[in-house]
Point group: C2
């Protein structure tokens, strides 16, 4: 008996390969079936439309990232904890770069494609919540700079991280990884200065 | 006699319409000729490859933005000047939204398409310079918060603005414009606090 979850994961991975190699437009049900070595009939057992297929592939990216974030050790300096959580989102190695490429291909298409509005909104809300939780974590630890608006800071950190991901994707290589980490680091130092830096 | 520059601009606009409506993959020389109501032969008088066509269309987006930035009144409070310059990049109305959509479609494709590496690098360098000039403007006016690294701050502002553009594209509407402006505003207030806020 084939494990349905394992099969769906294999299919999502076939979608990722096509998106990264050929662009999102090529991730049709037919092409994904071919990439995964399945008949159209077998694939339709798991997904009936392209939207379902893309939605599943993208949610799986989100779940992997969320799983890694949940695995971050949350003891100790909360600035370091938030930094580690954000590192799990950045394209610092090949697997994370693949996730970010799928996310960007989806995002660029979702901006102009009305049928993707629901999924786009769902992902935006999950990420908004994730960044709000990071800011709250800093605030609860007394590490957030006094006078900052938590809602604005959550949105600002979220926008900054998306911009850093975009730049890291555009400039592959080790220098780019260092820039990505330095940019996020400078931001966290500003919104949550270490005690010795406070004035 | 047809004005070559005007004709090239018309063609770039045909590219933009296709990219926004159908995705970057559809902006082939053939489809652009059809969209512009020209024969393939006439179009080849101006552009011989799809890369040339895309490059020209994207550079024209950049030139329009740079032109508007140059037109910003640079007298008075330099924080307000920088804010006005950044407003010219944000998708706050229909024309600017179209520019940003073209930029995003290109960016998403350029990340995985090696033939776009040259153009990608050129645009990244121009934008890096533009943001470095804004930070220098704040520093020269004595408005930049002491102790900040200008190079890091230029990259941080650039990443933040790209993230804000991405979010504004993903969440169309007036609320989203207000969020975009508030996020950039909060960032500028942090890196260049008004005199009364300095401590």
């Amino acid at each position: 008996m084939v494990d349905a979850h394992a099969r769906r994961t294999e299919l999502a991975e076939a979608v990722w390969r096509i998106v990264v190699r050929d662009g999102l437009e090529q991730a049709s049900v037919r092409n994904v079936a071919r990439e995964a070595g399945l008949s159209m009939g077998s694939l339709r057992h798991y997904f009936t439309t392209q939207s379902e297929l893309l939605g599943f592939a993208l949610r799986l990216v989100g779940e992997r990232i969320e799983e890694r974030i949940r695995a971050v050790d949350t003891t100790g300096d909360q600035r370091a904890v938030v930094r580690s959580m954000i590192d799990e989102m950045l394209p610092l190695d090949r697997p994370r770069r693949g996730e970010c490429e799928v996310w960007l291909a989806f995002t660029a298409r979702a901006v102009v494609e009305p049928t993707m509005a629901g999924l786009r909104k769902e992902i935006d809300e999950r990420l908004t919540d994730a960044f709000a939780a990071m800011i709250r974590r800093l605030a609860d630890a007394g590490a957030l700079r006094p006078g900052l608006d938590q809602k604005v800071e959550a949105e600002r950190l979220y926008a900054l991280v998306d911009g850093v991901i975009l730049h890291a994707l555009l400039r592959p290589g080790r220098t780019s990884n260092a820039t990505a980490k330095a940019t996020v680091g400078a931001h966290l130092d500003q919104i949550a200065p270490a005690a010795a830096d406070e004035r």
